[in-house]
Symmetry: C2
């Protein structure tokens, strides 16, 4: 195609992209629009539009004919035009905390979201931080400028400002994790209480005498859930415990390792660790290894698993699975339901069990 008119130099100026739009040849070159179909069928543009929308006021025969022609010429509606006219964007924004425990977390969720959106008119746009305005809340930005029809975000806080803002403005959203606000809102969450509770019991069953848990940063709701589940279990069993101080699941993995390594050398050291993430679990394993402690006898470990990673880790580690792909799938479906029409909030909430 670019070899067609090697002599025509004057036109090269508008080389921006694609064959110039003026091509008269109505063949297959130009992108088909409603107008194209209108001309082919002898109908008006409006009629074609409504026919494709399957409006009952358009004769069935006409609808079928239009649809057939549209199919034949490979018509696809121009999203920009639709968006401009209707105000709907057909976009779902996934807002990712830049400090995300990125490995696996986001990816699994994206896979699920993708699956939920497949076959719909919706696109997924990843919005990690924002443009050149470093600290302006991306959620506010998306909402105010209608960059999306719905927002998804993660790492919810007990009194999350994003939730408040979106609720106030009745803007469709769903978050991963819960708040502690009085008014109900859509969410998908994992039973982190159950996770920590079960993890503690597993450690105790394995013979651990003093448990330690590495928690997420305290500002996140799920940190509270985990702490609560952990505390409940250790109190029920009357076993020794501590909560890692100075490091969280968000800490650099080297820092976590350093902390655990140091702790493993001190008196009254814990012999049972609970890790809410894969990286921190590996850090605990590395610490034990570097201390010459044997996993499964000297030290015990229960980790949260969100990928297949631990299937290849030796020695084998006890894990509890959180299915983030499923979470993404759920969030996608619930958000679409939310956008589509009114659904009772209760229907837009899901709690994944351990």
């Amino acid at each position: 195609m670019s070899l067609e008119d090697p002599e025509d130099k004057g036109e090269n100026k508008s080389r921006r992209a694609m064959p110039a739009r003026g091509t008269e040849k109505a063949g297959t070159g130009a992108k088909p629009t409603l107008k194209t179909i209108a001309e082919l069928t002898g109908l008006a543009v409006t009629t074609v539009s409504r026919a494709l929308a399957d409006a009952p006021q358009i004769a069935l025969e006409t609808r079928l004919r239009v649809r057939q022609v549209a199919e034949e010429i490979g018509y696809l509606p121009d999203r920009a035009a639709q968006r401009l006219r209707t105000g709907r964007t057909n976009v779902i924004s996934l807002v990712l905390d830049p400090h995300e425990e990125i490995l696996g977390y986001a990816t699994s969720m994206i896979n699920g979201l993708t699956e939920a959106l497949r076959g719909t008119a919706y696109h997924l746009v990843i919005t990690p931080h924002f443009l050149n305005t470093p600290q302006i809340d991306p959620v506010r930005h998306i909402m105010r400028n209608r960059m999306a029809d719905g927002i998804i975000f993660t790492r919810t806080e007990p009194s999350d400002e994003r939730v408040k803002l979106l609720m106030e403005n009745n803007f469709p959203f769903i978050c991963h994790g819960r708040t502690e606000l009085a008014t109900a809102h859509p969410f998908v969450d994992y039973d982190n209480y159950g996770f920590a509770y079960q993890a503690a019991r597993k450690l105790i069953a394995a013979g651990a005498k003093k448990l330690s848990i590495i928690l997420p940063p305290d500002r996140f709701t799920f940190a509270h859930h985990m702490r609560h589940g952990f505390m409940t279990a250790v109190r029920e069993e009357g076993v020794g415990f501590e909560i890692a101080t100075g490091v969280t699941l968000d800490s650099k993995s080297d820092d976590i390792r350093d902390y655990v390594y140091k702790r493993m050398g001190e008196p009254e050291r814990p012999d049972g660790y609970i890790c809410g993430g894969e990286v921190s679990a590996l850090a605990v394993m590395a610490s034990a290894y570097d201390r010459g402690l044997e996993l499964g006898s000297d030290v015990h470990l229960v980790a949260k698993q969100t990928s297949g990673l631990f299937d290849q880790i030796r020695p084998r580690v006890e894990t509890i699975y959180e299915d983030l792909t499923e979470a993404g799938l759920l969030m996608g479906r619930l958000l679409l339901k939310h956008i589509a029409g009114r659904a009772p909030v209760a229907e837009l909430q899901a709690l994944q069990t351990v």
Copy 2:
């Protein structure tokens, strides 16, 4: 904001989204457009548009005034309108092979891309597979329907159809990996030849007598590069070698482990493994562990590292780093350059060294 009129219940009916658009109060409610600015400044819409575009024909004073007002009222151009009018989408599509070795690979790259696009008008859209048309080439779809201004894809093949198609149509793109086509095209690649070569030499230096390499599927160009680097090294050194058969880096990790485990029990087993990915390296480690072989003496391993994962893996493994975040950053920048205007192809190519 929602506390302002707590009594106004009647309005709740139009609950769909946001305050109804009819709000006459010109305050902060309605989304500002060029028209808003035009009214505020007493200028024509056209003038405002050009002023914001910093057109030299508009008086400097006017430009400043317009910009100031725009800033004050928080004006942001409507992307749909811009897109409809100019044909530019301000979108970059990252097309992801659904069989992607997703863990870390895509995520790192996305981080880099995000960084490259930050502060520009471009959005990143992830396109994993497509809509309800399972097997229609997503690249063709994006190009034909102008869903993006540029395309990024990975896992390039020697005679890649996507590259051909996009080149024929002069559509901006950049791919991760190279082809073996005669005509040059933009790409970012990692020196996988160098990786395999260096890895082999490291193993030999460590005392390995028979090397084995697990390669990517043969259809990808970088599989050839790796094989070539590997072969060069083993021939130079005259050491024993083999190439893993029946499994590739894309195989399920359990299958890789089973294969290696089996091989480790056979006569003339390799004692030095090269893995082009983290998961496969873990599988090799697990196999050795399950066989009771000690890493670093009985068996040696050199792995490609694309994340911080291996910093926490014990025993420590020799790795060679491929910076996929940097690759994403490069790809983003080069693609923007490509889109912006003409840049010699040579300037749109980058090879990351080992």
